[in-house]
């Protein structure tokens, strides 16, 4: 039902509420560096803001227009590379161009490549489009390794963001200044992409997503609707790429490759494709996990993949979809009714996960992939993967936990159905 929350018509007073949301967002962006002022905090938040733009641009395709792309990093990466070259060119020629406008170069690059590749790939929708996007992604990814002058091979191309024209004393040396630059662009892009969903074009994208055939019989050329959406998604991905170039001062061939294309799909989908807030949630959450989990475990990408599969199987609306689903219950002030069932399921789920994760971590220690020997720490407890005790523990946690979890699921389902029914009755009165 999240799609309805997004497409449903709200009447008067919406404009004011919307402006309020943007003011709050701007205030959050402004205040957060004072809450998380550590170096890691700043770099993580910078990355999150970039990923928000990237994921929202991806959702213009997947969530809004129903186009599943496996090659969205092409526009992100090429945008980044052109910004790096532009920065180096501007520095070399001593042109009076401030750094703050450079993301536009990335946007234009993303748009131009969107026009070029979109004209080939958007002729067809559905599965064929998905495969073609993958092929184009590989084409550009592989070309990046061949054209070493432009892409710098595996080492990449570096730049220096402090050498451009300084305006009002900003040299963009400190990460805090870069953060604010990124936050500014993030806010602008979010507002622009949200506004786009509220235009006739945004609406017809949804129509093409739902039923391309019918869209043709109400006067729309679905091919050109897909094409425009594709170009605009390229534009915003290019801006995100440009900000990445400014943030890291380096781009390499991996930035246009399969990995970022896959990650943006994962974060958008896990966040939720049916809701404008979904990709924002996904970008923040996955970036956070990337930073936190990669410190805690070597196999964090495996957990990410498993999370993705679980979401595809059981929560196709993503996290935002799950939240939106609870809105009627929340409004009826009945959310507390669900707490016991949810807490039980969560507890058992965590027990199962702890057991499974322990087994996976130990399997990793025992395998050829590990270099650190069999001794390791799990939740700060020192363990040895070569001994039998932790394996028994893993099995004792995972197997009964899973069996009990399966038993509890119907209880959760019943609690949900009963609560929702009551919430609806309450509203009817």
């Amino acid at each position: 039902m999240s799609a309805v929350a997004q497409t449903g018509v709200r009447r008067t007073g919406r404009g004011g509420a919307l402006a309020g949301v943007w003011v709050v967002a701007a205030a959050l962006f402004a205040v957060l560096p004072y809450v998380f002022s550590s170096g890691t905090g700043l770099t993580t938040m910078s990355l999150m803001a970039i990923m928000i733009i990237f994921a929202l641009s991806y959702n213009m395709l997947l969530g809004q227009t129903g186009m599943l792309s496996f090659g969205h990093a092409v526009y992100y990466g090429l945008g980044g590379f052109l910004v790096v070259h532009a920065m180096n060119g501007i520095t070399a020629a001593h042109l009076p161009v401030p750094l703050a406008v450079l993301p536009l170069v990335g946007g234009v690059a993303g748009l131009v490549f969107g026009v070029i590749f979109g004209s080939v790939s958007t002729r067809r929708g559905g599965t064929a489009f998905a495969m073609i996007s993958l092929g184009l992604g590989e084409l550009v990814g592989a070309s990046a390794l061949i054209l070493r002058d432009f892409f710098g091979g595996e080492d990449g191309i570096t730049t220096n963001r402090t050498k451009l024209l300084h305006v009002a004393g900003f040299n963009f040396g400190p990460q805090l200044q870069v953060y604010y630059l990124i936050a500014f662009w993030c806010l602008v892009c979010m507002m622009a992409m949200y506004a786009l969903t509220r235009t006739p074009f945004g609406r017809i994208c949804n129509a093409v997503r739902d039923n391309p055939e019918r869209a043709a019989f109400i006067g729309y050329n679905t091919q050109s609707v897909r094409f425009i959406a594709f170009c605009l998604a390229g534009l915003f991905a290019g801006i995100a790429g440009g900000l990445t170039a400014i943030n890291f001062e380096i781009m390499n061939a991996a930035n246009v490759g399969a990995a970022p294309s896959g990650i943006v799909l994962l974060m958008t989908y896990i966040g939720g494709v049916g809701n404008f807030a979904g990709p924002v949630i996904g970008a923040v959450l996955i970036t956070f996990l990337q930073v936190m989990l990669s410190d805690a475990t070597e196999i964090w990408q495996l957990y990410l993949g498993i999370l993705f599969i679980v979401m595809v199987s059981f929560a196709p609306g993503g996290i935002a979809g799950l939240i939106a689903m609870h809105a009627p219950v929340w409004r009826a002030r009945l959310l507390h009714r669900l707490v016991p069932a949810y807490a039980l399921a969560l507890a058992l789920g965590l027990v199962t996960f702890a057991g499974a994760a322990l087994a996976l971590e130990m399997a990793y220690r025992l395998s050829a992939g590990s270099e650190g020997g069999t001794a390791f720490r799990f939740l700060h407890v020192p363990l040895d993967a070569a001994s039998a005790a932790p394996w028994s523990l893993a099995v004792l946690l995972a197997v009964p936990g899973f069996v009990a979890f399966r038993r509890v699921l119907p209880i959760v389902g019943n609690a949900w159905a009963a609560t929702l029914a009551e919430a609806r009755r309450g509203r009817g009165r």
């Binding site: 799609a3 786009l196 235009t199 949804n206 129509a207 019918r214 043709a216 109400i218 006067g219 609707v225």
Partner: protein, 253 residues
């Protein structure tokens, strides 16, 4: 001679080697309500698919207000003023009822794929959408996703999507299929109301509906039109009676 709203000339369509439409000629005047009837498998839906551009004909010509639209894409034909509904409900299931109708009105009202106008701020578009929602009696359902509507409501929405865009030639493919008697009566009144001043071409199995609504009837049998005339004369036509084995046509009075 005046230009016909819709003119079909020597139309043929083969699927592989199987001929489905075997030389159809038909002229429908502006403002006429025209019904196409015929036994199952006669090619009625195929004929509609050919007119509306879903299939390209194997040979022959189709003219809309005198302009050749043979083999054009569905969106081009729609932009020239032909709108159609589908036999199997064909709506936007995840969009709200309001959004379904509004999307269908956008191109015709000139908003097309505008990137710089807030769609909620377009007063004329909202007014037109609400007007049609009133006509099809779905104004109370406006914020529901179309996918959860009842069958009869979805059929009404199907008609709403078809007529909101202001196409002056309207093709309805079995608008009352699967409806109860009272629903059918309601639908007939609705169709009469919303196609006022337009050219209507409909495929229909319910002979009550056909004789109630149509000014003229064409009988399509095995890919050819065997009669095209006023309801009374079609009913009296021996060839038609033979095609129907004297069953359906005689029923309504």
């Amino acid at each position: 001679m005046t230009v016909q709203a819709l003119e079909i000339e020597a139309l043929h369509k083969n699927f592989g080697r199987v001929p489905i439409i075997r030389g159809v000629d038909l002229a429908i005047a502006a403002g006429e309500r025209h019904a196409v009837i015929g036994p199952n498998g006669a090619g009625k839906s195929t004929l509609f698919h050919l007119i509306s551009g879903r299939f390209a004909p194997s040979s022959g010509h189709i003219r809309l207000h005198g302009a050749d639209i043979t083999g054009h894409a569905p969106y081009e034909i729609n932009r020239r003023g032909l709108a159609r509904s589908f036999q199997v409900t064909n709506i936007f299931p995840r969009l709200s009822v309001f959004e379904n109708v509004r999307c269908a009105a956008m191109w015709a009202m000139g908003y097309r794929t505008s990137l710089w106008r807030a769609v909620d701020g377009l007063a004329d578009l909202t007014a037109r959408t609400e007007e049609v929602l009133e006509q099809i009696n779905l104004i109370d359902r406006r914020d529901l996703p179309a996918g959860v509507l009842s069958y009869a409501e979805q059929r009404a929405l199907e008609i709403g999507i078809t007529i909101v865009g202001g196409g002056d030639v309207v093709l309805l493919d079995e608008p009352t299929a699967g409806m109860s008697r009272s629903e059918t009566e309601h639908a007939v009144a609705l169709i009469r109301k919303v196609t006022e001043g337009r050219t209507l071409v409909m495929v229909e199995h319910d002979m009550g509906v056909v004789f109630d609504l149509a000014d003229r009837i064409s009988v399509l049998v095995y890919g050819q039109i065997i009669a095209s005339d006023t309801p009374e004369r079609v009913r009296a036509n021996p060839a038609v009676q033979e095609a129907y084995l004297g069953t359906a046509v005689a029923a309504p009075s």
